[in-house]
Amino acid sequence: MVFSSPTFLFFFLPAVVLATWLAPTGLRRFILLGASLAFYTWGVQEFVLVVVGSTLIDWALARGIAAARTQAGNRRAARWLLIGGLVQNLALLGWFKYATFASHQIERMAEALGMSGPGTLQVLLPIGISFFTFEKISYLVDVYRGDVKARRDPLDVLLFVALFPRSIAGPIVRLREIQHDLRRPKPTTELASAGAVRFSHGLAKKVLIADQIAPIADAAFAAAQAGTLNTTSAWIGAVAYSLQLYFDFSAYSDMAIGIGMMLGFQLPENFNRPYSSVSMTDFWRRWHITLSRWFRDYVYIPLGGNRGGRFATYRNLLIVFALTGIWHGAGWAFLVWGLYHGAWLMLERRMGWRAFGDVRYTVARRCAVLLIVLLGWVVFRAESITLAADYYATMFMPSGGGTAPLEAVLSTQALLALIAGSCVVLLPGTRSGGRLLTEGTGRLAGAARLGALAVLPLALIYALSSSYSPFLYFQF
């Protein structure tokens, strides 16, 4: 069930919102828990039992960690319990996300060595596993560090992990950020209205921009696969994908934040005008913010951060971005993408190019960052190094102009969405549209809110009319 599907929009969401508002405060978290488990079961079926079981193990481990921490001389036990929890979570993630990839690599190695391999695995990847695994790990570590108290009630932890607005695509939340809201959700009309505006804004970004641009990117990469791509179309495809990814992902975060506000809790921001970045370091403070901070707090800083000298810092950056890469997907292309970004961050540190906020040569910097990020998205989207290499070759070695490979998908609406999306990301400003809508004051913010609400019926029309595949003759 995606947020823009008719089932979610017209059945699930209003039912959950109304049930939460109408229920007594004490019952609300049970409604949220039931809805969250139902939402997740919709996507992963029986795997929800694995999530529930693993979460209950984490709850028990956290209780043990908390108890061991308070006992003098028992920090070792706390550490072992933490390690057990980390192993449990990473083993789950490793199995479901990486076992298939690993088995294929072992098989290829065996073939290359002229041996017969053990065979390949095909493990189904449950949606959202990367997100909630990180959240469970953050809970265990935060308890170990004393940043948050271990919850007595397992339902608190279960609700935290399964909370449906962010279970599939984030933002990655820390329990300490929403624990009070989850215990006794108390939505207010003011917060709910702000959430409604935010949700409308996200839905419009998703169905009116991201979904309209997606066919262009798909066609470009399909043409690359078929060997029919030309230079012009390759650049259009890369721009289209860069915009599609941003609008799709940030829209999801907007909708998640909006839903949270309607239900009485506030999720953290996840995007802050990433395509306005003036350096790659700045980019990673604006793009998928909650993921960056997770890696900063749970990997980079524990490894020593930038306190161990230059080479240790570079090592830590590479480790973090290698992990960032493979977190996004099990494949060499994702690793390459992660290391590509890590290399740029290293270079910025080395050359003193790190910059944030108001700096000189802002336009040139923004253009440079945009280009670097855009080129990185090519290998990210290609999902194979070979295809990415072909795509880059087409981009940089002139092979014909024209848009013939994309003719079928360059509709007026798609072009308008591409142009509108480009304008939005290139506009000056320090605050994301979503934050402007929820935090802004003044006429501009008011007009933006009105605009988001006015566009809502159109967005709902587009959502309701998706997946329409009629037949010429009646199907008996």
């Binding site: 069930m1 599907s5 008719p6 089932t7 929009l9 017209f10 059945f11 969401l13 209003p14 919102v17 109304l18 079961t41 919709w42 996507g43 079926q45 029986e46 009309t189 003011e190 709910a192 209205s193 702000a194 959430g195 409604a196 505006v197 949700f199 409308s200 309607m262 509709s411 007026t412 609406q413 308008l416 809110r449 609400l453 809502l456 019926p457 709902l460 029309i461 587009y462 309701l464 009319s465 997946s467 329409y468 595949s469 009629p470 037949f471 010429l472 003759y473 009646f474 199907q475 008996f476």
Partner: protein, 479 residues
């Protein structure tokens, strides 16, 4: 007032989200859209929750029932088509002056069966006539070819499709039992008349009248005049099929074909065809009686899908006139199923006996009968009419004896053309389980019988009679 303004966004969102549910409770129901029956909720069980298909089906079922979806599709269609001049369907091309075209018409470009289509049509017509019946085989050409000047930006593949369809129409015009509908429609277009409806895949009044006239006269010369075929004075309205793809309700307005009287029955007529046949013979009428009901009352009709499943075999056997119509984009499917026509009408067809030849030089040559062994062997035939003929021919292989059925299933003789054969004809009978029945291998005009190589697989002891040659020269060849 301030409180109202503060709460309005939340109320607005909730109102829009619950509106369909409120409408449903008030009795609003979604009509059938998209030509698909509505999905049903899956059976409720805990076990079902373990399958992704269960949730997909719930999604589909809810989507099929949510009120306002039709309106949403229409709104989106109008925004796309009328505001942006974009087709909102991957199957519809927007032409000039609001004309709509069906893009799957271009799919035949990739269909290997199109190369065999002219031969297949000639063979079917010839086989039907050889069986003592009358044939009327017609192919409705693509609208994109017929109304090409209204396409605007021409989609890729159009020249390819035109090059594939032209030989089909040409062959039908030169084949006894073929009806060159395209030629008749071309004559109308040379008089400055359109033959298709602007928003539809079907012919307009002129096209339908032309088709109905040609078909009735092919059944029996002068039948159209006897029936007083013409156009009704008043127009009727009909929802367009291509508008549905865009989500926009577009109406066709045209004068329907009508028959003034019921002529003497020409005999049993079986009509196999899809929507163009339906449009002309069962389409809207001014007085509630369709052309088919008036001119050919109580005559059997068969959809090509049903025909391919064997549901019309008895009707075919009993027919004196066989009408087969297909649209050009469905020609590949007709080519794939033409063996059924040949095999059924060939039941009472006989020809001069030839001889079996084995491809294996060490084996006995020139035998009349063939007793099958456990091992299938590649075979060839010598035909009495010589290696080549300017007519299409049928090689009839009678199955004289089949061993009794076993516990594992009934026995059958199966036929396959060898990959290395110099002739790869259409309409080959795949298998024959009936003693007294026959396998058929058509030979297109000019095909060299000596280059034909095929394999018959049958249980040991199966006896095949001498291969017979039936020349499809437009004359009956019944026993």
């Amino acid at each position: 007032m301030r409180r109202f303004i503060r709460n309005a966004p939340f109320a607005w969102l909730l109102l829009l989200l619950v509106l369909p549910s409120i409408a449903w409770l008030a009795g609003a129901r979604q009509p059938l859209i998209g030509n698909t029956p509505k999905a049903e909720f899956p059976a409720a069980s805990v076990r079902a929750l373990g399958h992704k298909e269960t949730f997909d089906q719930i999604d589909t079922t809810l989507l099929d029932r949510i009120p306002f979806r039709e309106k949403a599709l229409e709104a989106r269609g109008r925004i796309g088509v009328q505001l942006f001049r974009d087709s909102t369907s991957p199957d519809v091309h927007l032409g000039d002056d609001g004309w709509l075209f069906y893009l799957p018409e271009l799919a035949t470009c990739d269909a290997v069966q199109m190369q065999q289509a002219p031969d297949a049509l000639e063979i079917m017509a010839g086989a039907i006539i050889a069986s003592g019946r009358n044939a009327a085989i017609a192919v409705a050409g693509s609208k994109m070819i017929a109304e090409r000047e209204l396409l605007g930006d021409e989609p890729a593949g159009l020249d390819c499709v035109a090059a594939l369809e032209a030989p089909v129409h040409d062959r039908l015009g030169r084949t006894r039992g073929g009806v060159d509908i395209q030629g008749a429609l071309d004559r109308q277009q040379r008089l400055g008349r359109r033959v298709f409806l602007p928003y539809d895949t079907h012919w307009n009044a002129i096209g339908r009248l032309t088709f109905a006239t040609e078909i009735l006269n092919a059944i029996k010369p002068g039948l159209a005049e006897q029936a007083g075929l013409g156009l009704a004075p008043a127009e009727v309205e009909e929802q367009s099929d291509l508008g549905r793809f865009l989500g926009i309700p577009l109406e066709n307005e045209f004068r329907p074909v009508r028959a003034a009287r019921t002529p003497p029955s020409p005999g049993k007529v079986l009509m196999v065809g899809d929507s163009q046949l339906d449009a002309a013979f069962s389409g809207p009428s001014a007085d509630g009686i369709t052309v088919g009901e008036r001119v050919l009352p109580e005559q059997p009709r068969c959809h090509p899908l049903a025909f391919g499943r064997g549901e019309c075999d008895d009707a075919l056997r009993g027919a004196q006139h066989v009408v087969i119509e297909t649209v050009a984009r469905d020609l590949p499917a007709l080519v794939d199923s033409c063996w059924r026509v040949v095999s059924l009408v060939g039941e009472n067809v006989r020809g001069a006996a030839g001889r079996w030849q084995s491809v294996d030089p060490a084996a006995a040559r020139g035998t009349r009968h063939l007793r099958m062994t456990a091992t299938a062997a590649p075979l060839a035939v010598t035909l009495p009419g010589g290696p080549v003929s300017r007519h299409a021919r049928l090689v009839r292989i009678p199955v004289r004896h089949l061993p009794p059925s076993t516990a594992s299933g009934s026995q059958a003789a199966a036929l396959a053309i060898d990959p290395g054969s110099g002739v790869h004809p259409p309409c080959v009978t795949p298998q024959q389980p009936v003693v007294g029945g026959a396998l058929f291998i058509p030979l297109p005009p000019g095909a060299k019988a000596g280059e034909l190589r095929f394999t018959v697989t049958a249980p040991a002891g199966t006896l095949l009679g001498p291969p017979e040659e039936i020349v499809l020269d437009g004359k009956p060849a019944v026993r």
